[in-house]
């Protein structure tokens, strides 16, 4: 196990934890913090869980699709022509 040193600073009412750039951790990564005997154990979700994220996203894309059921049978080209006619006359 490798150990890295991070530092903190205060920003408003929050404490910001800065991590070494070399770790390649992007902004917005989900963090899990556990209180342990010696202090806090901070876990960052990194690459091994990315595939899990992909699977979740693909399932969400499928789940969000559809739902509106008053489609006409027009092709995209016909829809385009209708829009043009209605907007441009």
């Amino acid at each position: 196990m490798e150990t890295y040193t991070a530092s903190t600073f205060t920003l408003g009412t929050s404490t910001v934890l800065t991590l070494p750039k070399g770790l390649g951790i992007k902004s917005g990564v989900k963090t899990k913090i556990k209180r342990v005997k010696s202090g806090l154990n901070i876990q960052l979700k990194t690459s091994p869980e990315k595939d899990g994220g992909l699977a979740v996203d693909l399932a969400l894309i499928k789940k969000l699709a559809g739902g509106i059921k008053f489609s006409s049978n027009f092709t995209p080209k016909q829809i385009n022509d209708i829009y043009d006619k209605e907007v441009y006359g």
Partner: protein
Amino acid sequence: MGNSACYLDSNICIAYLQEPHVFHDKAVEIFINLRKRHIAPIISPLVLDETTHIILRDARIKKKFNHISKIKNGIKKLLSIPFLRLINPPLENQKQLKIFEFMEKFKLKPRDAYHLLTMKVNHVKYFASFDDDFEAVFSKGILQKL
């Protein structure tokens, strides 16, 4: 934004939301492929306007009840697609005139020229559509077809 973003035409958004649409499965597949390739789907308020306009039109023709809230819910779902982002056209006065250049050069209608302007100022590389209005833009290498 560049290599990792693809602007989506409203016909893809319409097909994605409209379940019985002839291109519904294709539209879902486009969103899935974008996610697999780590390319962010990009739209603009203009795309949302066109999407809403066409679905609203279909709803009125089919005399559907409570269609506004159904369309709102559909747009909400569209906006919840992972990594989907909105971009805007430029706000500088002089840049608006660029659309006339695009209209002449690529034989585009004003709104399509605005789509192109929006993509250009935001450095979007890919464009996905079910129609062929942007063929001249693709052939000149201005955008890449997805």
